[in-house]
Amino acid sequence: MGLIALRTALIFLALFIVMRLMGKRQIGEMQPFELVITLLISELACIPMADTSIPLLYGVFSVLTIFLLHQLMLLLDLKVRPLKRAIGGKPSLVINKNGIDITELERNHLDVSDLIGSMRAAGYFSLDEVDYALYEANGQFTAMPREGAETEKKGSIPVLILDDGKYEKHNLTLTHTSEAFFDEVLQKQGIKKRKRVFVLTVDGTGKVYLQTRGEKFRTFRVALPEGCTW
Protein backbone atom coordinates (compact mmCIF):
# COMPACT_ATOMS: atom_id res chain seq x y z
CA MET A 1 0.00 0.00 0.00
CA GLY A 2 2.86 2.35 0.82
CA LEU A 3 4.29 1.76 -2.63
CA ILE A 4 0.91 2.43 -4.26
CA ALA A 5 0.48 5.61 -2.21
CA LEU A 6 3.93 6.89 -3.10
CA ARG A 7 3.57 6.06 -6.79
CA THR A 8 0.14 7.75 -6.87
CA ALA A 9 1.63 10.83 -5.18
CA LEU A 10 4.44 10.98 -7.74
CA ILE A 11 2.05 10.71 -10.69
CA PHE A 12 -0.13 13.36 -9.08
CA LEU A 13 2.85 15.68 -8.69
CA ALA A 14 3.98 15.15 -12.29
CA LEU A 15 0.50 15.78 -13.69
CA PHE A 16 0.09 18.82 -11.47
CA ILE A 17 3.35 20.39 -12.68
CA VAL A 18 2.41 19.70 -16.31
CA MET A 19 -1.02 21.26 -15.81
CA ARG A 20 0.51 24.36 -14.22
CA LEU A 21 2.97 24.68 -17.08
CA MET A 22 0.27 24.29 -19.69
CA GLY A 23 -1.39 27.52 -18.60
CA LYS A 24 -4.98 28.57 -18.55
CA ARG A 25 -6.02 27.24 -21.93
CA GLN A 26 -6.01 23.69 -20.56
CA ILE A 27 -7.58 24.36 -17.24
CA GLY A 28 -11.14 25.44 -17.97
CA GLU A 29 -12.89 26.30 -14.78
CA MET A 30 -10.97 24.20 -12.30
CA GLN A 31 -7.94 24.76 -10.16
CA PRO A 32 -4.97 22.94 -11.69
CA PHE A 33 -4.85 20.39 -8.90
CA GLU A 34 -8.57 19.75 -9.19
CA LEU A 35 -8.18 18.96 -12.86
CA VAL A 36 -5.31 16.61 -12.05
CA ILE A 37 -7.52 14.84 -9.55
CA THR A 38 -10.35 14.58 -12.08
CA LEU A 39 -7.95 13.04 -14.59
CA LEU A 40 -6.60 10.52 -12.12
CA ILE A 41 -9.47 9.48 -9.97
CA SER A 42 -11.66 7.79 -12.57
CA GLU A 43 -8.78 5.65 -13.84
CA LEU A 44 -7.66 4.80 -10.33
CA ALA A 45 -11.11 3.64 -9.42
CA CYS A 46 -11.81 1.87 -12.70
CA ILE A 47 -8.69 -0.26 -13.17
CA PRO A 48 -8.96 -2.37 -10.00
CA MET A 49 -12.72 -2.46 -10.48
CA ALA A 50 -12.49 -3.98 -13.96
CA ASP A 51 -9.27 -5.97 -13.62
CA THR A 52 -9.98 -8.75 -11.16
CA SER A 53 -6.31 -9.68 -10.89
CA ILE A 54 -5.59 -6.43 -9.04
CA PRO A 55 -6.66 -6.28 -5.39
CA LEU A 56 -9.47 -3.80 -4.86
CA LEU A 57 -7.50 -2.35 -1.97
CA TYR A 58 -5.06 -0.90 -4.50
CA GLY A 59 -7.84 1.25 -5.91
CA VAL A 60 -9.08 2.19 -2.46
CA PHE A 61 -5.64 3.27 -1.28
CA SER A 62 -4.83 5.21 -4.45
CA VAL A 63 -8.10 7.10 -4.11
CA LEU A 64 -7.35 7.69 -0.43
CA THR A 65 -3.92 9.06 -1.40
CA ILE A 66 -5.55 11.39 -3.90
CA PHE A 67 -7.94 12.55 -1.19
CA LEU A 68 -5.03 13.21 1.16
CA LEU A 69 -3.18 15.17 -1.53
CA HIS A 70 -6.32 17.16 -2.27
CA GLN A 71 -6.72 18.11 1.39
CA LEU A 72 -3.03 19.03 1.64
CA MET A 73 -3.23 21.16 -1.51
CA LEU A 74 -6.31 22.93 -0.15
CA LEU A 75 -4.57 23.58 3.17
CA LEU A 76 -1.49 24.98 1.46
CA ASP A 77 -3.67 27.04 -0.88
CA LEU A 78 -5.61 28.55 2.01
CA LYS A 79 -2.94 28.90 4.67
CA VAL A 80 0.44 29.38 3.02
CA ARG A 81 0.37 32.67 1.10
CA PRO A 82 3.57 32.23 -0.91
CA LEU A 83 2.39 28.84 -2.12
CA LYS A 84 -1.04 30.07 -3.18
CA ARG A 85 0.33 31.38 -6.48
CA ALA A 86 2.36 28.27 -7.13
CA ILE A 87 -0.61 25.98 -6.52
CA GLY A 88 -3.54 27.87 -7.97
CA GLY A 89 -1.81 30.30 -10.31
CA LYS A 90 -2.68 34.00 -10.46
CA PRO A 91 -5.04 36.05 -12.61
CA SER A 92 -3.56 37.35 -15.85
CA LEU A 93 -4.46 40.84 -17.00
CA VAL A 94 -4.50 40.42 -20.76
CA ILE A 95 -6.13 43.73 -21.71
CA ASN A 96 -5.45 47.04 -20.02
CA LYS A 97 -5.95 50.66 -21.04
CA ASN A 98 -3.02 50.37 -23.46
CA GLY A 99 -4.62 47.45 -25.24
CA ILE A 100 -3.60 43.81 -25.28
CA ASP A 101 -0.76 42.81 -22.97
CA ILE A 102 1.05 40.60 -25.45
CA THR A 103 3.56 39.23 -22.92
CA GLU A 104 0.81 38.16 -20.55
CA LEU A 105 -1.18 36.60 -23.39
CA GLU A 106 1.80 34.61 -24.59
CA ARG A 107 2.66 33.54 -21.05
CA ASN A 108 -0.71 31.80 -20.94
CA HIS A 109 -0.12 30.18 -24.34
CA LEU A 110 -2.99 32.11 -25.89
CA ASP A 111 -3.21 34.10 -29.11
CA VAL A 112 -5.43 36.91 -30.32
CA SER A 113 -8.09 34.60 -31.75
CA ASP A 114 -8.37 32.87 -28.35
CA LEU A 115 -8.75 36.25 -26.69
CA ILE A 116 -11.37 37.37 -29.22
CA GLY A 117 -13.22 34.09 -28.66
CA SER A 118 -13.20 34.63 -24.89
CA MET A 119 -14.43 38.18 -25.35
CA ARG A 120 -17.27 37.07 -27.59
CA ALA A 121 -18.26 34.45 -25.02
CA ALA A 122 -18.35 37.23 -22.43
CA GLY A 123 -20.55 39.38 -24.71
CA TYR A 124 -17.93 41.81 -26.09
CA PHE A 125 -17.36 41.81 -29.81
CA SER A 126 -14.72 44.49 -30.20
CA LEU A 127 -11.37 44.59 -28.44
CA ASP A 128 -11.84 48.24 -27.48
CA GLU A 129 -15.13 47.58 -25.72
CA VAL A 130 -13.28 46.78 -22.52
CA ASP A 131 -10.83 48.71 -20.38
CA TYR A 132 -9.57 45.63 -18.59
CA ALA A 133 -9.86 41.93 -19.25
CA LEU A 134 -8.29 39.09 -17.37
CA TYR A 135 -8.12 35.37 -17.13
CA GLU A 136 -8.77 34.31 -13.55
CA ALA A 137 -6.57 31.67 -11.93
CA ASN A 138 -9.19 29.03 -12.79
CA GLY A 139 -9.15 30.04 -16.48
CA GLN A 140 -12.42 31.97 -16.41
CA PHE A 141 -12.52 35.16 -18.48
CA THR A 142 -13.59 38.43 -16.83
CA ALA A 143 -13.81 41.88 -18.41
CA MET A 144 -14.54 45.42 -17.27
CA PRO A 145 -16.39 47.30 -20.04
CA ARG A 146 -15.20 50.70 -21.20
CA GLU A 147 -17.51 53.53 -20.27
CA GLY A 148 -19.75 54.44 -23.18
CA ALA A 149 -18.88 51.36 -25.20
CA GLU A 150 -22.51 50.17 -25.21
CA THR A 151 -23.79 53.30 -26.93
CA GLU A 152 -21.37 53.12 -29.85
CA LYS A 153 -22.67 52.26 -33.27
CA LYS A 154 -22.16 48.62 -34.13
CA GLY A 155 -22.46 47.77 -37.80
CA SER A 156 -21.38 44.17 -37.89
CA ILE A 157 -19.07 41.83 -36.07
CA PRO A 158 -15.39 42.93 -36.07
CA VAL A 159 -13.21 40.42 -37.86
CA LEU A 160 -9.56 39.67 -37.39
CA ILE A 161 -7.55 40.77 -40.41
CA LEU A 162 -3.98 40.73 -39.16
CA ASP A 163 -2.95 38.28 -36.51
CA ASP A 164 0.64 38.69 -35.33
CA GLY A 165 1.80 40.11 -38.66
CA LYS A 166 -0.03 37.58 -40.81
CA TYR A 167 -3.14 38.14 -42.87
CA GLU A 168 -6.18 35.99 -42.17
CA LYS A 169 -6.98 34.98 -45.76
CA HIS A 170 -10.39 33.60 -44.89
CA ASN A 171 -11.42 36.87 -43.26
CA LEU A 172 -10.14 38.91 -46.20
CA THR A 173 -12.42 36.88 -48.45
CA LEU A 174 -15.30 37.20 -46.01
CA THR A 175 -14.96 40.99 -45.87
CA HIS A 176 -14.32 41.33 -49.63
CA THR A 177 -11.11 43.24 -48.92
CA SER A 178 -7.53 42.63 -49.93
CA GLU A 179 -4.02 42.64 -48.49
CA ALA A 180 -3.21 45.67 -50.64
CA PHE A 181 -6.07 47.62 -49.08
CA PHE A 182 -4.82 46.99 -45.55
CA ASP A 183 -1.18 47.52 -46.52
CA GLU A 184 -2.22 51.00 -47.59
CA VAL A 185 -4.11 51.51 -44.30
CA LEU A 186 -0.96 50.53 -42.40
CA GLN A 187 1.18 52.89 -44.45
CA LYS A 188 -1.19 55.75 -43.69
CA GLN A 189 -0.78 54.92 -40.01
CA GLY A 190 2.98 55.12 -40.38
CA ILE A 191 3.59 51.41 -40.03
CA LYS A 192 6.21 50.27 -42.51
CA LYS A 193 6.64 46.68 -41.39
CA ARG A 194 3.54 44.51 -41.30
CA LYS A 195 5.30 42.12 -38.90
CA ARG A 196 5.10 44.77 -36.20
CA VAL A 197 1.32 44.58 -36.18
CA PHE A 198 0.08 42.34 -33.42
CA VAL A 199 -3.60 42.70 -34.18
CA LEU A 200 -5.82 44.48 -36.66
CA THR A 201 -9.58 44.06 -36.71
CA VAL A 202 -12.18 45.84 -38.76
CA ASP A 203 -15.95 46.01 -38.43
CA GLY A 204 -18.67 46.72 -40.98
CA THR A 205 -18.67 50.45 -40.25
CA GLY A 206 -14.98 50.69 -41.14
CA LYS A 207 -13.79 50.98 -37.55
CA VAL A 208 -10.30 49.56 -37.21
CA TYR A 209 -8.64 48.36 -34.03
CA LEU A 210 -4.89 48.31 -34.49
CA GLN A 211 -2.14 47.41 -32.07
CA THR A 212 1.51 47.07 -32.85
CA ARG A 213 4.06 45.38 -30.62
CA GLY A 214 5.25 47.65 -27.83
CA GLU A 215 2.71 50.38 -28.53
CA LYS A 216 -0.70 51.47 -27.29
CA PHE A 217 -3.65 50.39 -29.41
CA ARG A 218 -5.41 52.83 -31.69
CA THR A 219 -8.84 52.92 -33.27
CA PHE A 220 -9.77 54.84 -36.38
CA ARG A 221 -12.15 54.66 -39.26
CA VAL A 222 -11.43 53.78 -42.84
CA ALA A 223 -13.63 53.97 -45.90
CA LEU A 224 -14.22 50.37 -46.86
CA PRO A 225 -14.25 49.51 -50.56
CA GLU A 226 -17.60 49.22 -52.32
CA GLY A 227 -19.54 46.07 -51.53
CA CYS A 228 -17.76 45.34 -48.28
CA THR A 229 -20.58 44.02 -46.19
CA TRP A 230 -20.72 41.06 -43.87
Partner: protein, 125 residues
Amino acid sequence: MVKMLLSAVLSLALLVGAAIWETAYLNAEFGEVRAALGTLEAKTRDESALPDDARALQRLWEEKKKKLHAVIPHGDIAYIDYWLGEAEGCIQARLYEDALAKIEVLLVICRQLPQTYALTFENIF
Protein backbone atom coordinates in the same frame (compact mmCIF):
# COMPACT_ATOMS: atom_id res chain seq x y z
CA MET B 1 -10.58 23.99 8.68
CA VAL B 2 -10.47 21.61 11.64
CA LYS B 3 -12.44 19.06 9.63
CA MET B 4 -10.04 19.41 6.71
CA LEU B 5 -6.99 19.00 8.94
CA LEU B 6 -8.55 16.07 10.74
CA SER B 7 -9.43 14.28 7.52
CA ALA B 8 -5.91 14.85 6.16
CA VAL B 9 -4.29 13.57 9.33
CA LEU B 10 -6.63 10.59 9.48
CA SER B 11 -6.04 9.59 5.88
CA LEU B 12 -2.28 10.05 6.28
CA ALA B 13 -2.33 7.88 9.39
CA LEU B 14 -4.38 5.27 7.56
CA LEU B 15 -1.96 5.21 4.62
CA VAL B 16 1.15 5.04 6.79
CA GLY B 17 -0.48 2.40 9.00
CA ALA B 18 -1.50 0.34 5.98
CA ALA B 19 2.01 0.60 4.51
CA ILE B 20 3.65 -0.60 7.74
CA TRP B 21 1.05 -3.35 8.23
CA GLU B 22 1.45 -4.53 4.62
CA THR B 23 5.23 -4.87 4.93
CA ALA B 24 5.00 -6.68 8.25
CA TYR B 25 2.13 -8.90 7.10
CA LEU B 26 3.79 -9.95 3.84
CA ASN B 27 7.11 -10.65 5.57
CA ALA B 28 5.37 -12.74 8.24
CA GLU B 29 3.18 -14.70 5.83
CA PHE B 30 5.92 -15.42 3.32
CA GLY B 31 8.34 -16.12 6.17
CA GLU B 32 6.04 -18.89 7.34
CA VAL B 33 5.72 -20.32 3.83
CA ARG B 34 9.52 -20.10 3.42
CA ALA B 35 10.05 -22.01 6.66
CA ALA B 36 7.66 -24.77 5.51
CA LEU B 37 9.39 -24.85 2.13
CA GLY B 38 12.76 -25.13 3.88
CA THR B 39 11.56 -28.19 5.78
CA LEU B 40 10.23 -29.75 2.57
CA GLU B 41 13.50 -28.91 0.82
CA ALA B 42 15.52 -30.70 3.51
CA LYS B 43 13.27 -33.76 3.28
CA THR B 44 13.45 -33.75 -0.52
CA ARG B 45 17.24 -33.51 -0.38
CA ASP B 46 17.21 -36.60 1.88
CA GLU B 47 14.72 -38.21 -0.49
CA SER B 48 12.45 -38.76 2.49
CA ALA B 49 9.72 -36.31 1.45
CA LEU B 50 6.26 -37.88 1.22
CA PRO B 51 3.24 -36.75 -0.77
CA ASP B 52 1.60 -35.88 2.57
CA ASP B 53 4.44 -33.39 3.29
CA ALA B 54 3.79 -31.69 -0.03
CA ARG B 55 0.03 -31.71 0.63
CA ALA B 56 0.59 -30.15 4.08
CA LEU B 57 2.53 -27.30 2.43
CA GLN B 58 -0.23 -26.96 -0.16
CA ARG B 59 -2.83 -26.68 2.64
CA LEU B 60 -0.74 -24.05 4.42
CA TRP B 61 -0.44 -22.07 1.21
CA GLU B 62 -4.18 -22.40 0.46
CA GLU B 63 -4.89 -20.96 3.92
CA LYS B 64 -2.44 -18.08 3.46
CA LYS B 65 -3.49 -17.12 -0.05
CA LYS B 66 -7.11 -16.53 0.98
CA LYS B 67 -5.96 -13.38 2.77
CA LEU B 68 -3.03 -12.59 0.50
CA HIS B 69 -5.43 -12.09 -2.41
CA ALA B 70 -6.53 -8.85 -0.78
CA VAL B 71 -2.99 -7.49 -0.68
CA ILE B 72 -1.01 -8.70 -3.68
CA PRO B 73 -1.99 -9.07 -7.35
CA HIS B 74 -3.60 -12.40 -8.08
CA GLY B 75 -1.08 -13.10 -10.83
CA ASP B 76 1.70 -13.37 -8.24
CA ILE B 77 -0.35 -15.89 -6.27
CA ALA B 78 -1.07 -17.95 -9.38
CA TYR B 79 2.67 -18.06 -10.02
CA ILE B 80 3.28 -19.71 -6.64
CA ASP B 81 0.28 -22.02 -7.20
CA TYR B 82 1.89 -23.21 -10.44
CA TRP B 83 5.33 -23.99 -8.98
CA LEU B 84 3.84 -25.56 -5.86
CA GLY B 85 1.68 -27.85 -7.99
CA GLU B 86 4.75 -28.85 -10.02
CA ALA B 87 6.80 -29.59 -6.88
CA GLU B 88 3.95 -31.61 -5.38
CA GLY B 89 3.61 -33.65 -8.58
CA CYS B 90 7.35 -34.41 -8.63
CA ILE B 91 7.32 -35.54 -4.99
CA GLN B 92 4.33 -37.82 -5.67
CA ALA B 93 6.26 -39.32 -8.60
CA ARG B 94 9.36 -39.53 -6.34
CA LEU B 95 11.34 -37.34 -8.78
CA TYR B 96 13.28 -35.72 -5.97
CA GLU B 97 15.83 -33.91 -8.11
CA ASP B 98 13.11 -32.25 -10.17
CA ALA B 99 11.14 -31.46 -7.02
CA LEU B 100 14.23 -29.86 -5.46
CA ALA B 101 14.65 -27.54 -8.46
CA LYS B 102 11.02 -26.44 -8.20
CA ILE B 103 11.25 -25.92 -4.45
CA GLU B 104 14.31 -23.72 -5.06
CA VAL B 105 12.24 -21.63 -7.45
CA LEU B 106 9.49 -21.35 -4.84
CA LEU B 107 12.01 -20.28 -2.20
CA VAL B 108 13.31 -17.55 -4.47
CA ILE B 109 9.77 -16.35 -5.26
CA CYS B 110 8.80 -16.32 -1.59
CA ARG B 111 11.95 -14.38 -0.73
CA GLN B 112 11.57 -11.86 -3.55
CA LEU B 113 7.83 -11.29 -3.58
CA PRO B 114 7.56 -9.33 -0.29
CA GLN B 115 10.50 -7.22 -1.46
CA THR B 116 8.64 -6.14 -4.60
CA TYR B 117 6.15 -4.33 -2.37
CA ALA B 118 8.78 -2.60 -0.23
CA LEU B 119 9.39 1.14 -0.49
CA THR B 120 12.63 0.97 -2.42
CA PHE B 121 13.96 3.08 -5.29
CA GLU B 122 13.67 0.32 -7.90
CA ASN B 123 10.08 -0.43 -6.89
CA ILE B 124 8.96 3.19 -6.93
CA PHE B 125 10.32 3.89 -10.37
